[in-house]
Symmetry: C2
Subunit: 315 residues, 2 copies
């Protein structure tokens, strides 16, 4: 196989979006589609909020907030601060510009549009040529099973700042969620899948566990990029979760988790150069490269390395 | 009768709110209640917006935007500008801080609170001691009958910038609207009513036409302050409407309109000094004083003049 011509990238939020930006620099809108997690979605203040779709959207539009590491560039906080002063719920920090996206999407959904259609409208308005596709238009809601009981993902992640210890996850609605037909159609002649460096439990699992996804991708070369570097998560609670779930907090731990849980998923694995001395321990093709992405150059370089890896795997 | 001890002030939006601020400086929370128009209310972007309640609230809290002449002080526009860029409806200029009030109220209403309860929560949080009471907790919606057909008030006022010629008004829901019990109870021993300089057709009418209001106030000395000075409206479309309705656009025209439409309503009328030469034409007790209110001092002086006027009427 030569360098793949049609790639599906599976992403969660901010971490995965970095690699997504690199891929979008190398591949055209017909060569690259994003399958995005909706398990983090929730209804808050009456608005439908899709944190992972929005993180990817802002990153692809060059509108991600680089100072904060989340949210939209040039953001202000007049709404949420005033809401707090009026006794309203202000634990979820909705920026003034960010609010507009949630409002636009919510009104479209209320008028009967699908989440896909609302996402397409927003991404096109923001000048994004690549297709950002929710893994399903049906609701999938990640519930974190914790020492504080079952928590909706954003309650765990934002309100409780990931403090409760985790012992499992549940994806409400998963049994009835239909794989997005746009993704299903794309998979029919897709020749490579990249799982971006996103949280395996709450970003990747609720994508790949949608009925039909694993079966449809079994014959397609698939690689994952480790979200753990030097024993720590580059972003978010992945490492803390692994500890609480008794999984070694290493890149190898991530690979073994995927292999154990989804035996036919991975054909290759990408780890950071920092962890190169663990390469002999992997029982699947694995490369070590710089996976910590600070600059746009880093994002493109990692995307290049991933594409080259498919050549290696095919050789 | 000596100076009244319990006053009900009827107000619409920005114009009426100026006198309201003056009255609130002179009278304590037990001596003054505001009965506020809800005919301008509408649902927009899924939020319940109450423009007159909010104009009064911002004015009483000292949070009205003095540069704009409407809305909240220190306002920013990130939300509405971003919404427009995403293809959303941006004709109604919702400020970022203002949004928070609409959101807080809307969520309270969705949770079963009355408009009165939501208003109380907001006014108290903003440090307002006086009671701001919607004339009814039931929906009353002003419809402007115009050359462009029937228009919801905000569509006429904001979206169409008052351009269509008006030939009448309709108050949807009026037949079923119950006079706010808080106002009904207050009226039982209220000894004076001031109709603030608000639009007679779309601010005052939908307050005083609520079933039971006119009957309950017939024995209570009532004065109105003309919203027309020197033939022009101090704020909003009152003069333009009067022209289109074939009513002379003068303070006298306003008084005669009230007397014709609500024969038992008024016991006195207040006009601006500019119009003093028309005093002999009025067939009810009328005083001329400075009613154009630029400063806080002006607001207090007009409030004083109104209170003194009740003494005169009782003498």
């Amino acid at each position: 196989m030569s360098r793949p011509r049609k790639i599906l990238a599976v992403t969660g939020g901010v971490g995965g979006a970095k690699l997504a930006v690199g891929l979008a620099q190398l591949l055209g809108p017909d060569e690259l589609m994003f399958a995005v997690n909706v398990g983090d979605d929730f209804i808050h203040l009456g608005l439908h909020i899709s944190p992972d779709i929005d993180s990817l959207t802002y990153a692809l539009a060059g509108q991600n907030n680089q100072e904060l590491g989340w949210g939209r560039a040039g953001e202000t906080w007049q709404f949420i601060e005033t809401l707090g002063s009026l006794g309203g719920d202000d634990w979820f920090r909705l920026g003034d510009k960010d609010m507009a996206l949630h409002m636009r999407r919510s009104l479209m959904l209320q008028n009967g549009a699908s989440l896909s259609a609302a996402t397409q409208e927003v991404t096109q308005r923001m000048g994004i040529a690549h297709r950002v596709i929710p893994i399903s238009d049906d609701p999938i809601r990640t519930v974190v099973q914790s020492t504080q009981g079952d928590l909706m993902f954003q309650h765990y992640f934002v309100r409780e700042r990931c403090e409760p210890a985790v012992h499992g996850f549940r994806f409400e609605g998963m049994a009835n969620a239909v794989l997005n037909p746009t993704i299903a159609a794309y998979l029919a002649d897709c020749d490579a899948i990249i799982i971006c460096p996103s949280n395996p439990f709450v970003s990747v699992a609720p994508v790949i566990e949608v009925a039909g996804f694993l079966a449809a991708t079994e014959q397609i070369p698939t690689i994952a990029v480790a979200p753990i570097v030097g024993g720590i998560a580059l972003k978010g609670p992945a490492a803390k979760m692994m500890q609480e779930l008794d999984i070694p907090t290493t890149a190898l731990g991530v690979a073994e988790h995927y292999q154990h849980k989804y035996p036919h998923l991975l054909n290759g694995f990408v780890i950071d150069s920092t962890d190169a001395d663990s390469l002999p321990d992997f029982n699947l093709p694995t490369i070590a490269t710089q996976s910590v992405m600070s600059s746009l150059q880093d994002r493109i370089a990692l995307a290049e390395a991933c594409l080259d890896f498919f050549d290696q795997l095919a050789a």
